[in-house]
């Protein structure tokens, strides 16, 4: 493998990983944009979505399941589940705190995160073959490889692109397009932007802010659901503690791109994915430092653009 091959492979892996982070970051940034809450539980909603994916695969035949059956079902059922879950969490834990200090909601989100974590642990203890008959509930669970590993470029090619990489792009890019359409072209999108800009004015204009916020959580949850399907099938494994890392990555991406900015979340996610891929593939001992480099990049960007790469500059009113 020569340099061009390595860089090409970097791009493939970096973009795929980056798009998954971007998808999770979108859910994060949408919720943040509208209620200014760092939703720590978002990653754990993703985790539970992943467990649902695995359960669905089990119901459809486990190792022998056909991707043509599982994917459509999963891409409908899992986002629906995650959307409902996210909405319920908002209704029960965050809505009563709408007028409380921001940090109160933050700690509440941390609490919800722990609750979901425990639910994930129990879910993994169910007596199903994909969960190893529930004997090692705390262990990572492998997701059956519904899509083959084979290299689309041929078995001897230096660069490896599989159906999994294609799946990530095939699911994420339409989702991004749909989301952009939703936010820019529909009345709900307009209402969301209005509430994000100025909740009081929005209410004065007759927008039911609570309903709009609820719907934002629904959409954010749905995004997490789609992300979980892609995550489970691309990475091939889930565990009850994955929410923490996934949430951290997504949060970093969202901030890097500018919190509240949807294209920013995508740019941030891709940037993180590519930086990591470059560090781990090209730099000796890079894996040890990739975390540091990602955050160093973040800090440098924020020093020069304090509201993120694509964030709108904050206009402070006196």
């Amino acid at each position: 493998m020569d340099w061009t091959d390595l860089i090409a492979q970097c791009l493939v892996t970096g973009v795929a990983n980056g798009l998954i982070i971007a998808l999770i970051a979108l859910g994060y940034t949408m919720v943040y944009g509208i209620v200014e809450l760092i939703n720590f539980a978002h990653g754990d909603v993703l985790m539970l979505g992943g467990f649902l994916v695995l359960t669905l695969i089990s119901a459809c035949g486990g190792e022998q399941a056909s991707p043509w059956v599982v994917l459509p079902i999963a891409l409908v059922a899992v986002p629906a589940f995650c959307a409902g879950l996210n909405w319920s969490i908002d209704r029960l834990a965050y809505r009563p705190l709408r007028h409380a200090p921001k940090l109160t909601a933050l700690v509440s989100a941390i609490g919800v995160s722990f609750i979901l974590l425990n639910l994930g642990l129990f879910w993994g203890g169910l007596d199903l073959a994909v969960f190893d008959d529930g004997r090692s509930a705390s262990a990572k669970k492998s997701v059956p490889d519904l899509l083959p590993f084979s290299n689309l470029l041929g078995d001897d090619a230096s660069v490896l692109i599989t159906l999994k990489d294609v799946l990530v792009a095939a699911v994420t890019l339409p989702m991004l397009a749909a989301l952009t359409w939703l936010v820019q072209r529909t009345s709900l999108g307009r209402a969301m932007r209005a509430v994000a800009q100025d909740p009081v004015a929005a209410r004065l204009m007759g927008i039911d802010t609570d309903a709009v916020i609820g719907r934002t959580f629904l959409i954010g949850g749905a995004l997490a659901g789609v992300a979980s399907v892609v995550y489970a099938l691309y990475n091939g494994a889930i565990d009850f503690q994955l929410g923490y890392r996934a949430g951290m990555d997504a949060f970093t991406a969202a901030v890097l791109g500018g919190i509240g900015s949807l294209p920013g979340a995508v740019v941030g996610g891709l940037l993180i994915g590519l930086v990591r891929a470059a560090m781990e593939t090209l730099v000796p001992n890079g894996s040890q430092w990739s975390g540091t480099v990602v955050f160093a990049v973040l800090i440098v960007v924020l020093v020069f653009r304090p509201t993120g790469l694509l964030g709108s500059p904050l206009r402070e009113k006196v």
């Binding site: 493998m1 091959d5 390595l6 492979q9 970097c10 892996t13 970096g14 795929a16 990983n17 998954i20 722990f114 642990l121 969960f131 190893d132 004997r135 090692s136 509930a137 705390s138 262990a139 990572k140 669970k141 492998s142 997701v143 059956p144 490889d145 590993f149 290299n151 490896l160 599989t162 995550y231 691309y234 990475n235 091939g236 494994a237 565990d239 503690q241 994955l242 923490y244 890392r245 996934a246 990591r276 891929a277 560090m279 781990e280 593939t281 090209l282 000796p284 001992n285 890079g286 894996s287 040890q288 990739s290 975390g291």
Partner: protein
């Protein structure tokens, strides 16, 4: 009249004779978090040992009730072992006069926290899982190890598992035997994983293998290692060694290596040896692609007392014991055995009795504790994975 006097005398005697007192064994393991499955199995192993002893033990001729308490050195907030929790467990054990033996810990890092305290108080500590060599052997870890863990100057810490200096040597030798010439070494940036990777590297270089690059530390919680696998594929090595555990990425790494077109096999230390590896990687990724070194003989290969333990465990709990379960069982058994040999019911006598364990015929074979508190058992096994199960390949280190 005579009968009444005798009866009264008997009653008086019974009143002054003490009722059977209790002695305790306690264990301190990380039950909360990802090591939960492994440690629950270990706790079960200890329970079995206590039951086999009938819940009682005779020390210096007097029978005592034998109790067991399982303590957690992990907290919900941390999600893994916590220094304060371990320190608190150690102090709790010292403060309770009924505790004679402390079985722990699982993580070498946790042992470092409680060993000095327990040693200063003279409470015996037996570990079923610590493998950091510096805990008992001079000259391998820091300059002040292991003296720093023995403030009282006496050895009161023992372990029934062979330390990593042995496992690293044995692993490197096996790698060379299998024909590997170029190896890529990874570790999980934890004490155990980095330690064993270092041991493997030292021995591999001594045996003339080429170690490509340095030891690379990976992020144990990463969602996938595809980029890293690209680097490994480009390096064209014969073997990948990962010093780490199933909780810090072993399964995911195996999966990504298999899916990334790397032909080299993956070798790992004894922390690979549990069902979580199969669970995390899936059978396809592991089929004939993973090599695991393990202290002693694996459960399926156990003969004699080891096999009895495995069968009894399976009968009682309905599943195979995890890799370390038999070590925990052996810890408890040797603790009980030492208590029966102790000259008095006090902690110093128990420590002496444990240290004097010689040619103990247990589930792990016949072994003794040496002057450092290490086991003299040097038998290790090389295993691979076939059909979703660990399969014994050969004995190593003989």
């Amino acid at each position: 009249m005579r009968h009444a006097l005798t009866l009264a005398a008997c009653l008086a005697l019974a009143a002054v004779l003490p009722a059977a007192e209790t002695v305790k064994i306690v264990s301190s393991l990380p039950l909360t978090g990802s090591a939960n499955t492994q440690c629950t199995s270990m706790v079960n192993g200890i329970r079995m040992a206590i039951e086999e002893a009938g819940g009682q033990v005779t020390i210096a001729g007097i029978p005592y009730t034998l109790a067991y308490e399982s303590w957690d050195d992990a907290t919900a907030q941390a999600g893994k072992w916590d220094a304060q929790a371990e320190a608190a467990n150690a102090r709790k054990a010292i403060a309770d006069p009924e505790v004679l033996v402390y079985i722990g810990t699982y993580n070498s890092g946790a042992a470092k926290v409680s060993m000095p305290t327990l040693n200063a108080a003279g409470l015996a500590m037996i570990s079923p899982a610590n493998t950091w060599p510096g805990l008992t052997k001079p000259g391998i870890g820091e300059a002040n190890e292991p003296a720093v863990y023995r403030p009282s100057g006496k050895v009161s810490y023992f372990r029934v598992v062979p330390a990593d200096d042995l496992q690293g040597a044995v692993g490197a030798a096996w790698a060379k035997e299998l024909g590997a010439q170029r190896v890529f070494i990874l570790h999980d940036r934890e004490l155990y994983g980095q330690g064993i990777a270092k041991m493997f590297k030292l021995n591999a270089e001594k045996l003339g293998l080429t170690v490509v690059g340095g030891m690379e530390g990976i992020d144990g919680k990463a969602s996938n290692y595809k980029s890293l696998v690209t680097k490994i594929r480009a390096a064209q090595v014969d073997l990948v060694y990962f010093g780490g555990t199933t909780e810090t990425g072993a399964g995911q790494l195996a999966k990504d290596l298999a899916g990334g077109g790397v032909r080299a096999k993956l070798m790992g230390p004894d922390a690979f040896f549990n069902s979580a590896l199969m669970s995390a990687a899936g059978d396809a990724a592991l089929e004939d692609r993973v090599l695991v070194t393990f202290g002693g003989v694996p459960p399926e290969q156990q003969t004699g007392k080891g096999k009895t333990f495995v069968d009894a465990y399976q009968a009682k709990y309905g599943q195979m014991p995890e890799g370390y379960s038999i070590y925990a069982y052996e810890c408890a058994k040797v603790a009980i055995d030492a208590m029966t040999r102790a000259t008095a019911k006090d902690r110093a006598a128990v420590v002496e009795a444990i240290a004097a364990t010689k040619d103990y015929d247990g589930a792990l074979g016949k072994w003794s504790f040496d002057a450092n508190g290490d086991t003299t058992m040097t038998v290790m096994s090389g295993n691979t994975v076939r059909g979703g199960q660990f399969q014994f390949v050969k004995l190593l280190g003989q």
